[in-house]
Structures are given as structure tokens and as C-alpha cells.
């Protein structure tokens, strides 16, 4: 019936001629982009639990979370950049922004978050240590530490107290900034009224919540892997607290995403039937199995049962359960990004048909480059951990001191 169009790719029903393209407009890279950005926001919020909300138990994971946030934030614009038709013009987005565009604001939100929040907070947090390390560390690393102090080597009590104060202020500013950073990513999709799968007021909220969930899960993962590599025992109090927050965040996230799903079905607006078809044909496994099953229900069960039976579960089993829960959540949230981004492109805006795409392995938007971009933050994090969380270094105890006085 659809004549030659059916020969181009696998299309069912009628799709607009411009949509009958064998490659999707937004592919693996645009799936990874909100994933990475969400991990940044989540890891930061995890860290701010320590600074702003004074959750003492999480102190051991504070710096890991902050460095995780930094490593991932450095990679956040990469997938965007790689997917552009004209990456060489990307600076135009900062020079001549069109302010009604959610995408134009990205440059500014990103710059604000990197420069004004993350780097500053890390600097204030690390300054005291950097000054000390600069004196005892020889060679290039020592020079690096000295450069990073930016010449502020005052270690008087007053100066250190100021550091801590700034750190807290930045953490407080950082929370709405993290919400802004990821809420805006959700808005990129939520604002597209042309697309019934995307255009949704809940989208920014779902993105923020899933970001918090995935960020905490990533911190769990990084913390445990780091300790495993260093053959050190995990601080169980810290891990249990992370699992607790992870569970709560997941409950709220699952509730909101469930509400969205319920509302779609109940309202059953124009386009619902094509969305049903699209889910059945294209998202069956990634939505029902990976996102809902592996990414939500199983971790809810694992972490929830831990909350009930914590005392009775031996530590080794608990560690294993929390680690598995974290990894499953990380996979589930990645699947959620896939389902949102690709789901919106699997059906025609004529609401009369669904598309299939051939995903490339190599090429500008292929799996390979996606995998590389997903691995890159871990490589950067390894370097950062080697430099700033090295086992040879002494860390000052100022944090717990200052918080115990307040």
C-alpha cells in the first residue's frame, strides 16, 4: 500500500515522506547525552546530602561523588557535539543564542554548572589539602597541586573556615543548579508538542528524578569498585545509607513514571493508539523488561527488602545486593533514556505508522562512538582519583570537625 516507501526501511502504515529515512535524526548519542547529564546531576545531589543536609554517614563518599560529577560533566557536551551537522559552528550557540530555544540555554547552564558550581566547590573543598600536598609531593604532580591552589596558600583557621562556608553555600546553590541542568534536558523533550510521546509536563520532573536515582547508583558503583580495586573494606554505614537514599529516590521516581504511564492510558488522547503500537513493536523489551523490570521493580524489591531486613542480612550479602541494585538501576535508567529518545522517533507524526531504523556500528552516530563516550568519563575519573583521592595522600579532617561544630 505504501508503495516504494516500504522498500527504504521497515515502515508500517503511513509515515511522512521526510520521515522515511533509514537513519534516525537523533540516535545513540542523544540517548547518552541525557544519561550522562543525569548522572552528573544525581552524583552532585548525592554529594550535597553530605554538605547541605549533613548526612554524616555519607562523608566517605563525598569526594568520590564530586569527582564523578566532574568527570561526567566534562564529557556531557561531547555526544551533542558529535551529533551536530556542523560541530564547527557550535560556538554560535553561545555567541548568538536564540533565547526561546531550550537548546540555546544549554551552553549557559552548562558553563554555570561547571564553572560556578562544581569547579568552585571542589576548589574550596580541596584548597587546604592542595596546599599541604604541594609541599610534600615532588615532581609534576606537586607543581600541579601548587598551580591548583591558584596561589592562595593561607592555611589559617579563619581561611579554612571561609573555605568550608563557601563550600556549603555553593552546595546550596548547586542543588537548584543540578535540577536546572537536568530539568532543562527533560524540557528539551517535554516541550515538543508535536510529539505525543515527548510533549509532557512531567518530562522534566521524570528526568530529574531518574537522574537522582542513576546518580546515587553510580556513586554506589564507583565507591564499591574503588574500594574493591584498593582491596579496602567498604564502610557499611555509608553504603547502607546510600542504599536507603537510593531506595527512597527510586520509590518517588517509579511513582511519578507510573503516574505518567497511567495518565497516558487513561486520557488516551490523539496518538495513543500509535504509541501503543510503537511500544508493542519497538520498545517491548527495552521498556517492559529492562526499564520497568530490571531497572525498577527488581531494584525496588532488592533495596526494599534490605530496608526491612537489614539487621538479619549478613554484610557480604548486603554488599552484593546493593551493588546489584545499583548496577541494575544504571542499566534501567539508560534504557529509560533510550525509550524516551528513540520512542519519540519510532512513530510518524502523521500518527499513522511506525518506523524502524538501521543503527550504525561505526560512523558519526554509531554504537562505537557512543560506547567510547560512555567509557570516557570513567577514564577521566580514574585520572582524577589517582590525583585527588590517592592512597598516599593524607586528607584533612576539617570537614567533620566543622560540621560537628555547627
Amino acid at each position: 500500500m505504501t508503495g516504494e516507501i516500504t522498500n527504504i526501511g521497515a515502515f508500517q502504515g503511513y509515515v511522512f515522506p521526510n520521515e522515511a529515512n533509514p537513519h534516525p535524526l537523533w540516535s545513540v548519542l542523544i540517548v547518552i547525552y541525557p544519561y550522562i547529564t543525569g548522572l552528573v546531576a544525581g552524583a552532585f545531589i548525592m554529594a550535597s546530602l553530605v554538605r547541605v543536609f549533613k548526612v554524616q554517614a555519607l562523608e566517605p563518599v563525598y569526594r568520590v561523588s564530586m569527582l564523578t560529577a566532574l568527570a561526567f560533566l566534562l564529557c556531557a557536551p561531547l555526544p551533542l557535539l558529535c551529533h551536530l551537522g556542523h560541530p564547527e559552528r557550535c560556538y554560535e550557540i553561545m555567541m548568538t543564542p536564540h533565547l526561546t530555544s531550550p537548546m540555546a540555554v544549554f551552553g549557559f547552564v552548562y558553563a554555570w554548572y561547571l564553572m560556578a558550581v562544581l569547579l568552585l566547590e571542589l576548589w574550596f573543598d580541596y584548597r587546604q589539602d592542595l596546599v599541604k600536598w604541594a609541599k610534600i609531593t615532588p615532581g609534576f604532580t606537586g607543581i600541579l597541586y601548587r598551580m591548583l591552589t591558584l596561589g592562595v596558600t593561607d592555611l589559617s583557621e579563619q581561611s579554612v573556615a571561609l573555605d568550608m562556608k563557601m563550600c556549603r553555600i555553593l552546595s546550596v546553590v548547586g542543588i537548584p543548579s543540578a535540577f536546572l541542568l537536568h530539568g532543562y534536558v527533560g524540557f528539551i523533550f517535554g516541550s515538543i508538542k508535536a510529539n505525543p510521546w515527548w510533549g509532557n509536563v512531567l518530562m522534566p520532573i521524570m528526568f530529574i528524578l531518574s537522574a537522582i536515582v542513576s546518580g546515587i547508583a553510580l556513586c554506589v558503583f564507583n565507591y564499591m569498585v574503588l574500594n574493591w580495586i584498593r582491596r579496602k573494606t567498604v564502610d557499611m554505614r555509608c553504603l547502607d545509607t546510600m542504599a536507603l537514599f537510593l531506595f527512597y529516590a527510586l520509590v518517588v521516581d517509579a511513582a511519578i513514571e507510573g503516574l505518567d504511564y497511567l495518565h497516558r492510558g487513561y486520557a488516551a488522547e490523539e496518538g495513543y493508539s500509535v504509541i501503543q503500537l510503537m511500544i508493542r513493536e519497538k520498545l517491548f523489551y527495552t521498556l517492559y523488561f529492562v526499564q520497568i523490570g530490571v531497572g525498577t521493580l527488581l531494584p525496588l524489591l532488592l533495596l526494599g527488602s534490605l530496608q526491612l531486613l537489614r539487621q538479619r542480612v549478613p554484610e557480604a550479602v548486603r554488599r552484593c545486593m546493593i551493588f546489584c541494585g545499583g548496577v541494575m538501576i544504571l542499566i534501567g535508567v539508560l534504557a529509560m533514556r533510550w525509550n524516551v529518545v528513540m520512542g519519540g522517533q519510532f512513530f510518524s507524526k502523521s500518527l499513522r505508522g511506525v518506523m524502524s531504523y538501521k543503527m550504525e556500528f561505526t560512523g558519526q552516530e554509531g554504537w562505537l562512538i557512543g560506547a567510547v563516550i560512555l567509557c570516557l568519563p570513567f577514564i577521566i575519573l580514574t585520572v582524577l582519583v589517582k590525583l585527588f583521592l590517592s592512597e598516599q595522600l593524607q586528607f584533612s579532617e576539617h570537614v567533620s570537625q566543622s560540621s560537628s561544630t555547627t
Binding site: 500500500m1 505504501t2 508503495g3 516504494e4 516507501i5 527504504i8 502504515g13 503511513y14 511522512f16 515522506p17 521526510n18 520521515e19 522515511a20 529515512n21 535524526l25 537523533w26 551533542l80 551529533h83 551536530l84 551537522g85 556542523h86 560541530p87 559552528r89 557550535c90 560556538y91 554560535e92 550557540i93 555567541m95 548568538t96 543564542p97 536564540h98 526561546t100 530555544s101 531550550p102 537548546m103 540555546a104 544549554f106 598551580m147 528539551i188 516541550s191 515538543i192 508538542k193 508535536a194 510529539n195 490523539e270 519519540g344 522517533q345 510518524s348 507524526k349 502523521s350 500518527l351 499513522r352
Partner: protein, 253 residues
């Protein structure tokens, strides 16, 4: 003191890079200005866009689905081969209901092989099973409230956000230039007093083109308004299209 020098040289290098970027953009603007002097691809100098308000009316009862408009458009605007169309024609075939079903009509069959550029194949149903059929030419809807413009972040960087935001599927990324493209109503022609290529070539006068700010008494646009009840596509999205249709059926979106 060593660090001071390295900082200075680093700053100098940074300044150099910034200056380089700025120079490139200035040079590009200059080049574009020079190009505009010699090659006029857009409007002539004396054209004042504020004095015109272009619109297109489409009488679907007249369209015969010959596909000349889609072909003329591709040629006139150098649109690449493949699934890239600034305008296309859709065919709607509405079958008679299954005997015994409580429906008044069957589920519409819609197609647009090659954008209808080379006409349409025989209908997939025997004639006596077809209740109704018609053609619907499509093009940029010239929204007063365009979602594609709203989401565009800057000069085209090929992000495809506008393509995603257009509810009508009229935008595409040009595979050659890697920038977004759509119908411009043949801007290079209309600013010189000509009609768009699709209007010019339409043998059935199904496409009517006009200027709301310069309507004459016997303007075809005026007649179209007088003789038809008009409709726009997807009115519930609030885009306020300026492409008006007569004789549409409910399934067209």
C-alpha cells in the same frame, strides 16, 4: 617567577585562540556580504518583507495527484534525491465498511510513494470497495506561531531540533549541506513577482498563492475564501498555520 611567565604565555595563547575564532566569524560575515553582492540567491535589494504576507490555499477537490508540483519543487530548489521533500502529495483512500460492521466507513489507506512525485499506482482496492478518495498536497504550513522557530538555538548547526519540533513533518536535514531545510514558498521567485514553482506548474489550479497585504478585488485568494469553508492542519496545537485547505476530510493531519 617562572609560573608568571608561563601564565602570561598561556593567556596570550588563549587570547590568540579567541581572536582566531572571532576573526573566522568576521571573515565569514564579510564573505557572505561579498557573495550577496554578486550572487543573488535570496530577495532583491528593493524587496521589503514587511509589506507582504504570503499564504497558500489548497483546494483538495481539484488536486488530481499528478505529482508535477512535487517534481517541480525538487528541481527548482535543488532538493536532493531520496526521502527529502519540501512539498509532497498524499493519497487518501477510504474504503467502504465491511459488510455487517457497524462502521460508516473503513480505516483510511494513506500513501505517498516518492512524495507522489511520479503520480500514484493503481489503488490497492477494487473500485467498488472504495467509498471516497482524494489527494492532499502538503508543504510548510507557514505557522504564525511556529514551533520550529521557537526551538531553534542559533544559526543552523544541524542539530535537527526544528525537524523534531515541526508537527507536520515538513522539515528535513539536507544530506549535502547538513543543515535544516523546508519550503520557502520559492522565496527567490516570489520576491521577484513570480509564483512558487509548485503553483506555477499545477495543471488543476489546486494551489492558490497570494499576498494578504496586497489583495486585489478579483484575487483568487479572495474567491477561495468566498467559495470555501477552510480548514488548517492540526489546529489543536495552536500553531496557526497560514496554509488553508478546502475539502479536507477528518483523517488528514
Amino acid at each position: 617567577m617562572k609560573t608568571l611567565f608561563s601564565r602570561r604565555s598561556a593567556l596570550l595563547r588563549l587570547a590568540g585562540a579567541v581572536a582566531g575564532v572571532l576573526t573566522v566569524s568576521v571573515a565569514r560575515t564579510a564573505k557572505a556580504a561579498v557573495q550577496k553582492l554578486f550572487v543573488s540567491t535570496s530577495a532583491p535589494n528593493d524587496y521589503d518583507p514587511t509589506k507582504h504576507k504570503w499564504l497558500m490555499c489548497i483546494d483538495t477537490t481539484k488536486c488530481i495527484g499528478c505529482g508535477l508540483c512535487a517534481e517541480a519543487c525538487k528541481r527548482e530548489n535543488g532538493v536532493p534525491e531520496g526521502p527529502y521533500y519540501r512539498t509532497w502529495i498524499e493519497r487518501y483512500i477510504i474504503p467502504k465498511p465491511e459488510p455487517g460492521s457497524d462502521q460508516t466507513r473503513g480505516e483510511p489507506l494513506v500513501d505517498s510513494p516518492n512524495g507522489g512525485m511520479h503520480g500514484f499506482p493503481e489503488p490497492p482496492l477494487p473500485k467498488d470497495q472504495i467509498e471516497l478518495s482524494f489527494f492532499a498536497p502538503k508543504l510548510c504550513n507557514l505557522c504564525e506561531n511556529p514551533p520550529c522557530v521557537q526551538v531553534c538555538p542559533t544559526y543552523c548547526i544541524g542539530c535537527a531540533f526544528c525537524v523534531q519540533a515541526c508537527p507536520y513533518g515538513v522539515r528535513f536535514l539536507n544530506p549535502v549541506t547538513h543543515t535544516a531545510e523546508k519550503c520557502t514558498l520559492c522565496y527567490h521567485r516570489i520576491t521577484r513577482g513570480l509564483k512558487p514553482a509548485c503553483v506555477e506548474i499545477c495543471p488543476a489550479e489546486a494551489r492558490i498563492f497570494g499576498d494578504l497585504k496586497n489583495l486585489s478585488a478579483d484575487d483568487p485568494i479572495q474567491k477561495f475564501y468566498e467559495n470555501n469553508r477552510v480548514q488548517v492542519l492540526k489546529p489543536h496545537l495552536g500553531t496557526k498555520p497560514r496554509v488553508l485547505y478546502a475539502g479536507l476530510d477528518k483523517g488528514v493531519s
